[in-house]
């Protein structure tokens, strides 16, 4: 089961890196994309833990719905288009 452990550490490291990118990103939309990466990788951890259904639901709900709602919400708020014009 050394391979499983190896994958776990890789995944865990990636999750931490992505989570670091979430909090340290300059752009809020980048943060959300990284957040959805965290969710996807967490689904990988679930698969390693032999909880496939949970992994699928994780992708379906968190990546497919919650991240999209967050991005949607961000885009509905006022922001500045690159290049200066207010949108």
């Amino acid at each position: 089961m050394a391979l499983d452990l190896l994958f776990f550490w890789i995944l865990a490291g990636l999750i931490l890196a992505a989570a670091w990118a979430v909090v340290n990103g300059n752009d809020i939309v980048h943060s959300v994309v990284w957040l959805s990466t965290v969710f996807l990788l967490t689904a990988g951890i679930f698969i390693l833990a032999e909880a496939e259904f949970l992994a699928v639901i994780q992708v379906l709900v968190y990546v497919g719905a919650i991240s999209v709602v967050i991005i949607f919400g961000i885009m509905l708020t006022k922001r500045t288009l690159k290049g200066g014009e207010d949108v």
Binding site: M75, L76, T77, K78, E85, D86, V87
Partner: protein, 364 residues
């Protein structure tokens, strides 16, 4: 998302030509609109002052690529008034036939261009397929498919070729069949109605105040047609009716404007048949057409898109001293903030398509 200005054009699928529509949207709702014209300005009026009277028919052909005969006819009428030329009876009949064929082709061009605006590419190809039939007909006497240069000052270029009547009758019959067939695909289709009904409303009084004429005004239920009210050629001799539609009492929406054009096409078919019924024989060109003129003349005709007006001043030379064109679309496009406000972004092509834009005549 706050309010923002979107610039649609000058290169945008909605514009049907070179112009810019700036819309201010709040989310998907239109708050304000600002049309911007002048991208296609070719100074036709000034060019015409440098050319002889008879040469200007090539310029008027190019005013509107979809409806060139009607514009040339308007020019020919005003020059004939300036020069005092009497057009022979047969030429008048031929002119009426050509005008109605051109109106059919123009309305079909419009209907074909309207369908992709609604996301219906098949409709475009169906209508343009039928337009080809009428282009074939127009090609027979004039020798060209788009810019005919057929109506000349004092008559028409040449007589109708042999077998023209039979061919026209065959095509008209086919066309009427196809219009009935298309009813299921377009005006009776639920989704088509969802897109066009209750969209882009304006009332008849609003339209008259804003200078909107032609089918757009007749779509409000107003019986106004220069072919009847300021009659020319032989429209008073034959039996036909002004087609009107209305979405509700005294106002129009995209669907009524669509339907009034479909009805006009059927009426044009009727007019062409009536013309063939009592067509006299004789010359097709006035015996004497002067080359110089002086004085001023002014004629208005019912173009495919509304009221076309031309004003000419001659100073005795062989070129016009001043030439002014008033196009129906200029006022209609300028009025677009009045009928765009409050609708969705997705309605912009639906509304602007339904008023039948032609930028060539607008910018001149």
């Amino acid at each position: 998302m706050a309010e923002m200005w979107i610039s649609m054009g000058p290169q945008h699928p909605m514009t049907h030509g070179l112009w810019t529509l700036k819309v201010k949207v709040d989310g998907e709702t239109i708050v304000d609109a600002d049309p911007e014209l002048g991208y296609l300005h070719r100074s036709v009026e000034k060019m015409g002052e440098r050319r002889k009277y008879f040469m200007n028919t090539t310029l008027t052909d190019r005013l509107c690529y979809a409806s060139s005969t009607t514009w040339t006819h308007c020019y020919a009428l005003s020059v004939e008034e300036l020069m005092g030329v009497e057009v022979p009876q047969r030429a008048q009949y031929i002119r009426t036939i050509m005008l109605e064929l051109q109106r059919l082709a123009s309305h079909l061009m419009w209907a074909g261009a309207y369908m992709p605006d609604l996301g219906h590419i098949t409709g475009a190809l169906y209508f343009w397929r039928d337009r080809e039939l009428f282009l074939n007909l127009l090609e027979l006497p004039s020798g060209s498919r788009l810019l005919y240069n057929y109506i000349r000052i004092g008559g028409v270029k040449r007589d109708l070729p042999d077998g023209f009547e039979e061919k026209t009758e065959r095509i008209l019959k086919l066309f009427e069949q196809r219009l009935d067939e298309y009813a299921d695909l377009f005006e009776n289709s639920k989704i088509f109605r969802m897109r066009t009904e209750d969209v882009g409303n304006f009332t008849a009084s609003q339209a008259m105040n804003l200078g909107i004429t032609g089918p757009n005004l007749r779509g409000c239920g107003t019986k106004h047609d220069l072919r009847k009210h300021d009659t020319y050629e032989i429209y008073e001799e034959i039996d036909w009716e002004i087609q009107t539609r209305e979405a509700g009492p005294g106002y129009s929406d995209c669907f009524s404007r669509y339907m009034v054009r479909i009805d006009e096409m059927r009426e044009s078919v009727h007019i062409i048949r009536e013309c063939f019924k009592n067509m006299p024989s004789g010359p097709t060109m006035a015996s004497k057409v002067p080359i110089r003129a002086s004085g001023e003349a002014f004629r208005r005709t019912e173009d495919s898109r509304g009221e076309a007006l031309m004003y000419l001043v001659g100073d005795g030379s062989d070129r016009p001293y001043r030439w002014k064109i008033k196009s129906p679309m200029f006022t209609t496009i300028s009025a677009c903030p009045h009928y765009l406000k409050g609708y969705k972004v997705a309605d912009i092509p639906s509304i602007m398509g339904s008023i039948d834009i032609c930028i060539g005549e607008t910018d001149k």
